[in-house]
Symmetry: C2
Subunit: 241 residues, 2 copies
């Protein structure tokens, strides 16, 4: 009926294998807070962000690149690393021109899986760079997978909400037969005007808000405040030019 | 704060391993159409339903038990079996006192996984037996997992809607910190008054409606028309008495 490329939403890294993602663009989504921090650091002039899934690798790459090492457990900077996971820690005055080595378990796992499974291009998405993601997807004429990083492989609401935000903007240009996408779009439409209130109901809010990160989480659902497109290339996330 | 048991929703058999389901009741949900057909056959007096995941096993058990063999592919009865997967095929006049051997891939896979992972009790749920499921869960004071059978491990909307219907009825009696449950309840609340129209948007509708099964699918989202509780015991699903 139409030659529009397909779009799917994948609700957990554990479900990525169910799809053929070759010749596709995969959008890695980790709203609280990895992909929001990545967009923010790059928007503020970081030269690159290196996503890693272990503290040891973070320390090692921090040494070899001279980069900023960053990562948290339970709301505190991990011992041996220098900074945390908050986008607020990376203003232009601090991060411009630098390399950020960021420890993120859920997002990095999905990113590596997407590469291993043959994605043509891997980019990262979050509310702060929503429009940059949508503009890029519309320009590519390729199949798209919106990959939710989830939390230890369990579904989370906030990543689905971002998938829904993308779908609302781009759906006329894709063929979508995917209940995950239908659900994501409906959840986003239901809550886009009460996002700050709604995220207080999520499991992630309850995990992080007890560490005083309410402002951080509200920033992470604010659209287009760090509107660049991070694209993965040889180990680095850099701004697509 | 409270000693209420926990409740989780599991959106795909592929995600069941993420949870400790020992000492729990697992509700197998396969709205279109296995668990709806199971409730209906047992409500109409079937002695038992034997769920199997292969055609060969269905034929073999049909012979050894003298039971009715049932299963479909692409809307047609599978060669070698006698009947299909539609609840409408199992009125009391036909099924009373008989054994039904039912081929169902998604639901049976989840059921076997739940048993293998140590569930204390496995029951099946669908809109036709919604109240029976809720009444049972409220009587047990055990942790609950609402297990969506999904479609080839991919998330589907209709199983989540049923999970949401259960949650709406029982949530005051459980501790729920689970984004899948939050989403399921919101999707159900959003659509409970337009269910017949909404299910026309699902991927399953598009797969099955082309075989003329619209009435079947509408029956499968009708609440409490076959209100018994199927419970698994030694290979059989029988009515909990």
């Amino acid at each position: 009926m139409s030659n529009r490329p397909t779009l799917h939403t994948v609700l957990s890294p554990r479900l990525l294998d169910l799809y053929d993602i070759s010749n596709s663009v995969v959008v890695i989504i980790d709203v609280f807070r990895a992909t929001s921090t990545i967009a923010t650091a790059l928007f503020n002039g970081a030269a690159r962000v290196i996503p890693v899934d272990s503290v040891d690798l973070c320390i090692q790459l921090g040494k070899s690149t001279g980069g900023i090492t960053a990562g948290e457990r339970d709301g505190k900077v991990i011992e041996g690393l220098a900074y945390g996971n908050s986008p607020a820690e990376y203003p232009r005055s601090f991060v411009e021109g630098k390399t950020l080595v960021l420890t993120t378990t859920n997002g990095t796992k999905l990113l590596h899986k997407a590469l291993h499974n043959g994605a043509t291009e891997v980019v990262t998405g979050s509310f702060p760079n929503l429009s940059a993601v949508c503009d890029h997807l519309l320009s590519q004429n390729k199949s798209v997978f919106l990959g939710c990083s989830a939390w230890k492989d369990r579904f989370n609401i906030e990543d689905a909400l971002f998938a829904g935000a993308v779908i609302e903007q781009v759906k006329e240009h894709f063929t979508i037969h995917c209940d995950s996408s239908l659900m994501a779009e409906e959840m986003y439409r239901l809550h886009k005007n009460n996002m700050h209130r709604f995220i207080r109901q999520t499991t992630h809010w309850h995990r992080l808000a007890s560490y005083g990160l309410e402002k951080d989480l509200e920033y992470c659902v604010t659209e287009d405040v760090a509107n660049v497109l991070p694209v993965y290339h040889n180990g680095d996330l850099v701004v697509k030019t």
